[in-house]
């Protein structure tokens, strides 16, 4: 039985909304906890070195997230592709593979009624691909040379349709937003460590300052713990949301091509792939790729599960997947 791609898309969208809400709640909770603990420990002598520390933490997190988000927004998808060493393909290329790739991308642009994105080839033997860019007008799609050599036309079309699914469903916006938030948590952790260093230095320097130094250390500890916890759970949540978006992109690929075999067979070849030589410019981009090793931090579901979903087999879903 073929996959019911409309139903699969609806399910993946619902789950995403749930996990995104959880993400915001988690952030708020961390901030409130930091504030409450500080008040409780300090008791009557509540004289925080930074007033309303918990909310300061919250403000820093969101400010950093917003800053990172704006930085991403300034550069189109082509910038991301080029920073990974990919080279652009033009419409009038004489190379057979390049022309075929351009044609396939154009076909999918017609099927999805989206503008033609920039097309890039990645010099890598591995079978992989990604889409980048925050809106369809400045999006880019990149695929490896290895994928062009070892996949047939239908399979390449399935992969490109999957990437178009990410563009159409605005997954780059969601995952970059999440990546920016996780980075914000990480930044809070870093600030905590700095304050601790600073207060140690100061308490060694001038001994007559009472318990001001202790409060500083306490504040730093709280920021560190809150930052570390939210960073840890934030990373897991980000991966969980990302996995739902992969199912959604697979379902979209079937909708655009009306050919479940293309993407399913491409995934089979990826599962057997020997090469792993993609340029990794930081884990921040891991969500962009077509597949990822599976673990709780993995941004992609296990390939066997994706194939089962595409082909409409019965499979038991675990609640956290």
């Amino acid at each position: 039985m073929a996959m019911d791609f409309w139903e699969a898309q609806r399910r993946a969208r619902l789950r995403t909304a749930f996990y995104l809400a959880l993400f915001v709640v988690l952030t708020l909770l961390a901030a409130v906890c930091a504030e409450l603990v500080l008040r409780y420990v300090a008791g009557d002598n509540y004289e925080p070195p930074l007033p309303l520390l918990g909310f300061g933490f919250l403000a820093v997190t969101f400010a950093v997230a917003a800053y990172n988000y704006l930085m991403y927004k300034q550069h189109g998808g082509g910038y991301v592709a080029e920073s990974m060493g990919a080279y652009p393909i033009s419409a009038d290329t004489r190379d057979f593979h390049e022309k075929q790739l351009y044609n396939i991308v154009h076909e999918m642009a017609i099927a999805t009624s989206l503008p033609m994105p920039e097309v890039y080839l990645i010099p890598s033997e591995e079978i992989n691909a990604f889409a980048a860019g925050l809106n369809p007008k400045n999006a880019a799609i990149a695929i490896t040379e290895g994928a062009m050599e070892r996949l047939n036309r239908d399979e390449i079309q399935g992969v490109i349709a999957h990437e178009f699914g990410h563009i159409k469903n605005a997954d780059m916006v969601i995952s970059l937003r999440l990546a920016a938030m996780v980075m914000g948590f990480f930044f809070a952790l870093y600030i905590g460590l700095r304050i601790m260093q600073l207060s140690q230095f100061r308490s060694r320097d001038s001994n007559g300052r009472g318990n001001g130094g202790h409060i500083m250390i306490l504040a730093a500890l709280i920021i560190i713990v809150a930052g570390a916890l939210t960073w840890f759970f934030g990373t897991i949540l980000k991966a969980t949301v990302s996995r739902q978006r992969e199912y959604l992109a697979d379902a979209s690929a079937v909708q655009f091509t009306r050919n479940p075999d293309g993407i399913a067979n491409a995934l089979r070849k990826i599962a057997k792939d020997q090469y792993h030589d993609m340029p990794k410019t930081g884990a921040a981009y891991s969500h962009l790729y077509l597949e990822d090793r599976s673990s709780i931090f993995a941004t992609h579901p296990p390939i066997e599960k994706r194939i089962a979903a595409i082909e409409g087999h019965q499979y038991e879903e675990k609640p956290n997947d």
């Binding site: 044609n103 076909e107 017609i110 099927a111 047939n152 036309r153």
Partner: protein, 196 residues
């Protein structure tokens, strides 16, 4: 006094309501037109490719002159049907039927040529032929995907016209259900098989 205000308010709301339906109908009709122009571009692209195909295979296929002539004829007929449709300002019931018929004939004679190409391994392996096959199969896909997108838009437009409340006003504003672009014979549903 109050009753006049209430009556005036009801009239204003009704007018706004009708304006909303009118605008929605226009938007949907423009989306259908835009989707059609996508098909039109791809059909033209295919008609431009066919003379290239004939030139490329001519040297190898002296014995099948009839096949080549029939594909050129089918191509010219389809091209004329497309012209006629474009001149009448978009697909009407008759012109669309005409085009679908011509397209079906063109597809089947293209299929014949591609089947014959299989018998000439040297031709099949030649670089110009490979390029041409890629262009042809990409064009086939584009026509198919553009048709899929067109039919989706048509369905949206027709459904909106047939639903309440637009059903009360659609024909008054000059909106009528549009025919989908369907390929009517089972053999035409298969793409021209382009092997690599």
């Amino acid at each position: 006094m109050w009753s006049w205000i209430i009556i005036a308010a009801i009239i204003v709301i009704l007018v706004l309501f009708v304006v909303g339906i009118y605008n929605r109908l226009v938007t949907l009709r423009n989306q259908v037109k835009n989707a059609w122009s996508q098909i039109d571009v791809q059909l033209q692209r295919r008609y431009d490719l066919i003379p290239n195909l004939v030139e490329t295979v001519k040297g190898y296929m002296n014995f099948e002159k009839g096949t080549l002539e029939s594909v050129i004829k089918a191509r010219n007929q389809a091209s004329a049907a497309r012209e006629q449709l474009a001149q009448s300002g978009g697909p009407t019931e008759g012109s669309l039927k005409n085009l679908i018929g011509a397209e079906t004939a063109l597809r089947s004679s293209l299929g014949n040529i591609m089947a014959l190409v299989e018998n000439y391994p040297q031709l099949r392996a030649s670089e110009p032929m490979q390029r041409l096959q890629e262009e042809l199969s990409s064009t086939e896909n584009r026509v198919a995907f553009a048709r899929q997108a067109y039919n989706d838009q048509v369905m949206g437009y027709n459904t909106y016209q047939q639903e309440f409340p637009a059903v009360l006003l659609a024909s008054m504003f000059g909106h009528h259900p549009v025919d989908m672009f369907e390929v009517d014979t089972p053999e035409a549903k298969k793409n021209v098989k382009v092997a690599f």
